[in-house]
Symmetry: C2
Subunit: 190 residues, 2 copies
Protein backbone atom coordinates (compact mmCIF):
# COMPACT_ATOMS: atom_id res chain seq x y z
CA UNK A 1 0.00 0.00 0.00
CA UNK A 2 2.69 2.47 0.96
CA UNK A 3 5.40 1.38 -1.46
CA UNK A 4 4.69 3.98 -4.09
CA UNK A 5 4.36 6.93 -1.72
CA UNK A 6 7.53 5.80 0.03
CA UNK A 7 9.35 5.87 -3.27
CA UNK A 8 7.93 9.32 -3.86
CA UNK A 9 9.10 10.54 -0.45
CA UNK A 10 12.55 9.05 -0.96
CA UNK A 11 13.03 11.25 -4.00
CA UNK A 12 12.62 14.29 -1.76
CA UNK A 13 14.06 13.48 1.67
CA UNK A 14 15.80 10.75 3.61
CA UNK A 15 13.45 9.40 6.28
CA UNK A 16 14.18 7.39 9.41
CA UNK A 17 11.93 4.43 10.22
CA UNK A 18 10.32 6.48 12.95
CA UNK A 19 9.50 9.34 10.60
CA UNK A 20 8.17 6.98 7.99
CA UNK A 21 5.91 5.21 10.45
CA UNK A 22 4.54 8.48 11.76
CA UNK A 23 3.90 9.65 8.22
CA UNK A 24 2.02 6.47 7.34
CA UNK A 25 -0.02 6.91 10.50
CA UNK A 26 -1.54 10.19 9.48
CA UNK A 27 -2.38 9.12 5.95
CA UNK A 28 -5.99 8.14 5.42
CA UNK A 29 -6.48 5.38 2.96
CA UNK A 30 -9.56 5.62 0.76
CA UNK A 31 -11.03 3.93 -2.26
CA UNK A 32 -13.31 6.16 -4.30
CA UNK A 33 -15.78 5.22 -6.99
CA UNK A 34 -15.64 6.54 -10.52
CA UNK A 35 -17.15 10.00 -11.16
CA UNK A 36 -17.18 10.97 -7.49
CA UNK A 37 -16.55 14.59 -6.56
CA UNK A 38 -13.80 15.08 -3.99
CA UNK A 39 -14.39 18.83 -4.04
CA UNK A 40 -16.98 21.22 -5.44
CA UNK A 41 -16.85 24.94 -5.98
CA UNK A 42 -17.65 26.79 -2.78
CA UNK A 43 -16.36 24.09 -0.46
CA UNK A 44 -13.16 24.41 1.52
CA UNK A 45 -10.65 21.83 0.40
CA UNK A 46 -9.51 19.83 3.40
CA UNK A 47 -7.26 17.28 1.77
CA UNK A 48 -4.17 16.65 -0.21
CA UNK A 49 -4.51 13.31 -1.91
CA UNK A 50 -1.73 11.11 -3.22
CA UNK A 51 -2.91 8.82 -6.00
CA UNK A 52 -1.85 5.20 -5.51
CA UNK A 53 -4.08 4.10 -8.36
CA UNK A 54 -6.63 5.88 -10.51
CA UNK A 55 -7.24 9.03 -12.46
CA UNK A 56 -8.60 12.35 -11.25
CA UNK A 57 -9.33 15.64 -12.91
CA UNK A 58 -9.37 19.18 -11.57
CA UNK A 59 -11.56 21.62 -13.42
CA UNK A 60 -13.09 25.03 -13.34
CA UNK A 61 -16.45 26.20 -14.67
CA UNK A 62 -16.33 29.59 -16.33
CA UNK A 63 -19.02 32.27 -16.34
CA UNK A 64 -20.60 30.74 -19.46
CA UNK A 65 -20.90 27.35 -17.84
CA UNK A 66 -18.02 25.74 -19.71
CA UNK A 67 -15.74 23.29 -18.02
CA UNK A 68 -12.03 23.96 -18.25
CA UNK A 69 -9.81 21.07 -17.24
CA UNK A 70 -6.79 22.19 -15.32
CA UNK A 71 -5.10 18.92 -14.59
CA UNK A 72 -5.37 15.20 -15.07
CA UNK A 73 -3.66 13.42 -12.22
CA UNK A 74 -2.74 9.76 -12.30
CA UNK A 75 -0.59 7.41 -10.24
CA UNK A 76 2.14 9.11 -8.22
CA UNK A 77 0.63 12.61 -8.33
CA UNK A 78 -0.92 14.72 -5.59
CA UNK A 79 -4.23 16.52 -6.05
CA UNK A 80 -5.69 19.33 -4.01
CA UNK A 81 -6.67 22.96 -4.28
CA UNK A 82 -3.62 24.26 -2.48
CA UNK A 83 -4.88 27.81 -2.10
CA UNK A 84 -8.15 26.68 -0.56
CA UNK A 85 -6.43 24.08 1.58
CA UNK A 86 -3.80 26.43 2.98
CA UNK A 87 -5.90 29.52 3.56
CA UNK A 88 -9.02 27.54 4.49
CA UNK A 89 -11.11 29.52 2.08
CA UNK A 90 -13.79 28.32 -0.36
CA UNK A 91 -12.45 26.83 -3.54
CA UNK A 92 -13.40 27.84 -7.06
CA UNK A 93 -12.55 24.41 -8.42
CA UNK A 94 -14.05 20.97 -8.81
CA UNK A 95 -12.08 17.78 -8.29
CA UNK A 96 -13.54 14.54 -9.60
CA UNK A 97 -12.42 10.95 -10.09
CA UNK A 98 -12.50 9.68 -13.66
CA UNK A 99 -11.81 6.10 -12.62
CA UNK A 100 -12.17 4.18 -9.40
CA UNK A 101 -9.22 5.48 -7.40
CA UNK A 102 -7.14 4.46 -4.45
CA UNK A 103 -5.91 7.43 -2.47
CA UNK A 104 -3.79 8.35 0.51
CA UNK A 105 -5.21 11.51 2.01
CA UNK A 106 -3.95 13.97 4.54
CA UNK A 107 -6.05 16.72 6.12
CA UNK A 108 -5.08 20.17 7.32
CA UNK A 109 -4.67 19.40 11.01
CA UNK A 110 -2.64 16.27 10.42
CA UNK A 111 -0.41 18.06 7.98
CA UNK A 112 0.34 20.77 10.52
CA UNK A 113 0.93 18.12 13.14
CA UNK A 114 3.33 16.39 10.77
CA UNK A 115 5.28 19.58 10.20
CA UNK A 116 5.43 20.37 13.91
CA UNK A 117 6.65 16.89 14.77
CA UNK A 118 9.12 16.45 11.90
CA UNK A 119 9.97 19.73 10.16
CA UNK A 120 11.80 17.69 7.56
CA UNK A 121 8.46 17.09 5.84
CA UNK A 122 8.23 20.79 5.03
CA UNK A 123 10.95 20.05 2.57
CA UNK A 124 9.09 17.26 0.90
CA UNK A 125 6.02 19.37 0.37
CA UNK A 126 8.12 22.30 -0.76
CA UNK A 127 9.78 20.20 -3.44
CA UNK A 128 6.40 18.89 -4.49
CA UNK A 129 5.20 22.44 -4.96
CA UNK A 130 8.26 23.29 -6.98
CA UNK A 131 7.54 20.43 -9.29
CA UNK A 132 3.94 21.55 -9.70
CA UNK A 133 5.03 25.10 -10.38
CA UNK A 134 7.47 24.00 -13.07
CA UNK A 135 4.88 21.86 -14.76
CA UNK A 136 2.36 24.68 -14.77
CA UNK A 137 4.94 27.16 -16.06
CA UNK A 138 5.77 24.93 -18.98
CA UNK A 139 2.14 24.37 -19.69
CA UNK A 140 1.45 28.08 -19.65
CA UNK A 141 4.29 28.76 -22.04
CA UNK A 142 3.11 26.07 -24.41
CA UNK A 143 -0.42 27.41 -24.31
CA UNK A 144 0.48 30.96 -25.22
CA UNK A 145 3.31 30.28 -27.65
CA UNK A 146 2.14 27.30 -29.66
CA UNK A 147 -0.79 26.59 -31.96
CA UNK A 148 -3.36 24.01 -30.95
CA UNK A 149 -2.00 21.22 -33.14
CA UNK A 150 1.48 21.43 -31.66
CA UNK A 151 0.05 21.47 -28.14
CA UNK A 152 -1.87 18.34 -28.91
CA UNK A 153 1.16 16.56 -30.30
CA UNK A 154 3.20 17.52 -27.27
CA UNK A 155 0.44 16.29 -25.01
CA UNK A 156 0.12 12.82 -26.51
CA UNK A 157 3.86 12.50 -26.55
CA UNK A 158 4.32 13.54 -22.94
CA UNK A 159 1.31 11.70 -21.55
CA UNK A 160 0.67 8.78 -23.90
CA UNK A 161 -1.09 6.84 -21.12
CA UNK A 162 -3.47 9.63 -20.11
CA UNK A 163 -4.73 9.88 -23.66
CA UNK A 164 -6.13 6.36 -23.32
CA UNK A 165 -7.84 7.02 -20.01
CA UNK A 166 -9.53 10.37 -20.54
CA UNK A 167 -12.33 11.19 -23.02
CA UNK A 168 -11.27 13.30 -25.95
CA UNK A 169 -13.47 16.29 -25.24
CA UNK A 170 -11.84 16.67 -21.83
CA UNK A 171 -8.43 16.67 -23.44
CA UNK A 172 -9.69 19.36 -25.78
CA UNK A 173 -10.74 21.49 -22.84
CA UNK A 174 -7.38 20.84 -21.17
CA UNK A 175 -5.62 22.03 -24.32
CA UNK A 176 -7.81 25.11 -24.46
CA UNK A 177 -9.62 24.23 -27.68
CA UNK A 178 -13.11 23.08 -28.62
CA UNK A 179 -13.90 19.37 -28.89
CA UNK A 180 -14.84 19.82 -32.54
CA UNK A 181 -11.57 21.45 -33.42
CA UNK A 182 -9.58 18.71 -31.75
CA UNK A 183 -11.46 16.20 -33.82
CA UNK A 184 -10.49 18.11 -36.94
CA UNK A 185 -6.85 18.20 -35.93
CA UNK A 186 -6.88 14.44 -35.48
CA UNK A 187 -8.49 13.97 -38.86
CA UNK A 188 -5.80 16.09 -40.50
CA UNK A 189 -3.13 13.72 -39.21
CA UNK A 190 -4.63 10.61 -40.79
Amino acid sequence: MFESIDRYADQCVRLSDEERTFFHGILQRKTIKKKTFLLRKGEVCNFEAYIVKGCIRTFYIDENGFEINLQFAVEDWWVSDIASFTDRKPSGLFIQTLEESELLMIDHDHKEQLFRTYPKFERMFRLMLQRNLSVLQNRFLATVSQPAEQRYLDFIQRYPDIQQRVPQHMIASYLGISAEFLSKIRKRRR
Copy 2:
Protein backbone atom coordinates in the same frame (compact mmCIF):
# COMPACT_ATOMS: atom_id res chain seq x y z
CA MET B 1 17.31 47.94 4.13
CA PHE B 2 15.79 44.85 5.65
CA GLU B 3 12.47 46.32 6.76
CA SER B 4 10.51 45.16 3.78
CA ILE B 5 11.87 41.63 3.66
CA ASP B 6 11.30 41.35 7.41
CA ARG B 7 7.69 42.29 6.91
CA TYR B 8 7.51 39.70 4.17
CA ALA B 9 8.99 37.01 6.42
CA ASP B 10 6.66 37.94 9.28
CA GLN B 11 3.69 37.09 7.09
CA CYS B 12 4.98 33.54 6.81
CA VAL B 13 6.72 32.61 10.06
CA ARG B 14 7.56 33.96 13.51
CA LEU B 15 11.31 34.53 13.77
CA SER B 16 13.52 34.93 16.82
CA ASP B 17 16.15 37.67 16.77
CA GLU B 18 18.80 35.04 16.27
CA GLU B 19 17.06 33.57 13.26
CA ARG B 20 16.46 36.97 11.78
CA THR B 21 20.10 37.97 12.14
CA PHE B 22 21.30 34.76 10.57
CA PHE B 23 18.90 35.27 7.69
CA HIS B 24 20.13 38.81 7.09
CA GLY B 25 23.67 37.48 7.15
CA ILE B 26 23.26 35.24 4.16
CA LEU B 27 21.45 37.78 2.01
CA GLN B 28 23.61 39.50 -0.54
CA ARG B 29 22.68 43.08 -1.18
CA LYS B 30 23.03 44.30 -4.75
CA THR B 31 22.11 47.31 -6.82
CA ILE B 32 21.65 46.55 -10.49
CA LYS B 33 21.48 48.94 -13.44
CA LYS B 34 18.55 49.16 -15.77
CA LYS B 35 18.34 46.58 -18.61
CA THR B 36 20.86 44.24 -17.01
CA PHE B 37 20.43 40.50 -17.46
CA LEU B 38 20.41 38.50 -14.24
CA LEU B 39 20.00 35.28 -16.18
CA ARG B 40 20.16 34.18 -19.80
CA LYS B 41 18.93 31.03 -21.48
CA GLY B 42 21.42 28.21 -21.06
CA GLU B 43 22.84 29.48 -17.77
CA VAL B 44 22.16 27.81 -14.45
CA CYS B 45 20.22 30.12 -12.18
CA ASN B 46 22.09 30.49 -8.91
CA PHE B 47 19.95 33.03 -7.11
CA GLU B 48 16.61 33.84 -5.67
CA ALA B 49 16.26 37.60 -5.52
CA TYR B 50 13.93 39.60 -3.32
CA ILE B 51 13.13 42.99 -4.80
CA VAL B 52 13.52 45.84 -2.33
CA LYS B 53 13.11 48.38 -5.07
CA GLY B 54 12.84 48.11 -8.83
CA CYS B 55 11.16 46.19 -11.59
CA ILE B 56 12.25 42.97 -13.27
CA ARG B 57 10.86 40.84 -16.02
CA THR B 58 11.15 37.13 -16.72
CA PHE B 59 10.72 36.09 -20.31
CA TYR B 60 11.08 33.29 -22.76
CA ILE B 61 12.04 33.40 -26.43
CA ASP B 62 10.05 31.00 -28.59
CA GLU B 63 11.24 29.11 -31.66
CA ASN B 64 10.25 32.04 -33.92
CA GLY B 65 12.31 34.47 -31.90
CA PHE B 66 9.41 36.16 -30.17
CA GLU B 67 9.69 37.24 -26.58
CA ILE B 68 6.98 36.06 -24.21
CA ASN B 69 6.89 37.84 -20.87
CA LEU B 70 6.10 35.48 -18.04
CA GLN B 71 6.21 37.83 -15.09
CA PHE B 72 6.80 41.39 -14.09
CA ALA B 73 8.13 41.51 -10.56
CA VAL B 74 8.23 44.68 -8.48
CA GLU B 75 8.80 45.55 -4.84
CA ASP B 76 8.15 42.71 -2.40
CA TRP B 77 8.33 39.89 -4.95
CA TRP B 78 10.93 37.18 -5.45
CA VAL B 79 12.39 36.35 -8.85
CA SER B 80 14.27 33.26 -9.93
CA ASP B 81 13.98 30.30 -12.23
CA ILE B 82 13.06 27.85 -9.52
CA ALA B 83 13.43 24.74 -11.65
CA SER B 84 16.90 25.73 -12.77
CA PHE B 85 17.89 26.88 -9.30
CA THR B 86 16.74 23.73 -7.53
CA ASP B 87 17.90 21.10 -9.99
CA ARG B 88 21.01 23.07 -11.01
CA LYS B 89 20.20 22.63 -14.64
CA PRO B 90 20.39 25.17 -17.49
CA SER B 91 17.48 27.57 -17.66
CA GLY B 92 15.33 28.27 -20.68
CA LEU B 93 14.48 31.75 -19.44
CA PHE B 94 15.84 35.25 -19.39
CA ILE B 95 15.60 37.54 -16.38
CA GLN B 96 16.24 41.24 -16.89
CA THR B 97 15.88 44.45 -14.90
CA LEU B 98 13.58 47.05 -16.41
CA GLU B 99 14.61 49.71 -13.90
CA GLU B 100 17.59 50.20 -11.65
CA SER B 101 16.88 47.69 -8.90
CA GLU B 102 17.88 47.02 -5.34
CA LEU B 103 17.94 43.33 -4.53
CA LEU B 104 18.55 40.92 -1.69
CA MET B 105 19.94 37.73 -3.18
CA ILE B 106 20.47 34.27 -1.86
CA ASP B 107 22.44 31.56 -3.62
CA HIS B 108 22.00 27.80 -3.62
CA ASP B 109 24.60 26.93 -0.98
CA HIS B 110 23.47 29.62 1.43
CA LYS B 111 19.87 28.59 1.03
CA GLU B 112 20.70 25.00 1.90
CA GLN B 113 22.77 26.22 4.83
CA LEU B 114 19.83 28.30 5.99
CA PHE B 115 17.50 25.32 5.84
CA ARG B 116 19.95 23.07 7.67
CA THR B 117 20.47 25.63 10.42
CA TYR B 118 16.87 26.71 10.85
CA PRO B 119 14.37 24.34 9.23
CA LYS B 120 11.70 26.89 9.95
CA PHE B 121 12.73 28.70 6.80
CA GLU B 122 11.58 25.76 4.73
CA ARG B 123 8.12 26.91 5.70
CA MET B 124 8.66 30.43 4.51
CA PHE B 125 9.84 29.31 1.10
CA ARG B 126 7.09 26.75 0.87
CA LEU B 127 4.45 29.41 1.49
CA MET B 128 6.11 31.65 -1.06
CA LEU B 129 5.85 28.87 -3.62
CA GLN B 130 2.22 28.34 -2.79
CA ARG B 131 1.54 31.97 -3.44
CA ASN B 132 3.34 31.81 -6.77
CA LEU B 133 1.45 28.71 -7.74
CA SER B 134 -1.91 30.31 -6.96
CA VAL B 135 -1.06 33.41 -8.92
CA LEU B 136 0.02 31.38 -11.92
CA GLN B 137 -3.06 29.18 -11.71
CA ASN B 138 -5.35 32.18 -11.79
CA ARG B 139 -3.42 33.68 -14.61
CA PHE B 140 -3.63 30.50 -16.60
CA LEU B 141 -7.37 30.30 -16.08
CA ALA B 142 -7.83 33.90 -17.12
CA THR B 143 -5.72 33.35 -20.23
CA VAL B 144 -7.68 30.37 -21.49
CA SER B 145 -11.16 31.44 -20.44
CA GLN B 146 -11.31 35.19 -21.13
CA PRO B 147 -10.98 37.30 -24.25
CA ALA B 148 -8.04 39.67 -24.62
CA GLU B 149 -9.92 42.82 -23.67
CA GLN B 150 -11.11 41.40 -20.37
CA ARG B 151 -7.60 40.15 -19.57
CA TYR B 152 -6.26 43.62 -20.19
CA LEU B 153 -8.87 45.25 -17.97
CA ASP B 154 -8.15 42.79 -15.19
CA PHE B 155 -4.46 43.44 -15.55
CA ILE B 156 -4.62 47.22 -15.22
CA GLN B 157 -7.02 46.89 -12.33
CA ARG B 158 -4.87 44.40 -10.44
CA TYR B 159 -1.52 46.01 -11.22
CA PRO B 160 -2.23 49.71 -11.83
CA ASP B 161 1.34 50.61 -10.91
CA ILE B 162 3.02 48.11 -13.22
CA GLN B 163 1.19 49.55 -16.18
CA GLN B 164 3.08 52.82 -15.66
CA ARG B 165 6.46 51.18 -15.40
CA VAL B 166 6.48 48.69 -18.26
CA PRO B 167 6.33 49.43 -22.00
CA GLN B 168 3.06 48.57 -23.63
CA HIS B 169 4.35 45.98 -26.06
CA MET B 170 5.73 43.98 -23.14
CA ILE B 171 2.34 44.04 -21.48
CA ALA B 172 0.85 42.79 -24.73
CA SER B 173 3.26 39.87 -24.76
CA TYR B 174 2.45 39.19 -21.09
CA LEU B 175 -1.24 39.10 -21.92
CA GLY B 176 -0.60 36.78 -24.84
CA ILE B 177 -1.63 39.19 -27.60
CA SER B 178 0.14 41.19 -30.28
CA ALA B 179 1.26 44.75 -29.58
CA GLU B 180 -0.94 46.05 -32.39
CA PHE B 181 -4.02 44.40 -31.05
CA LEU B 182 -3.47 45.81 -27.57
CA SER B 183 -3.24 49.24 -29.12
CA LYS B 184 -6.59 48.65 -30.81
CA ILE B 185 -8.19 47.51 -27.58
CA ARG B 186 -7.02 50.70 -25.88
CA LYS B 187 -8.37 52.80 -28.72
CA ARG B 188 -11.75 51.12 -28.42
CA ARG B 189 -12.01 52.21 -24.82
CA ARG B 190 -11.52 55.94 -25.54
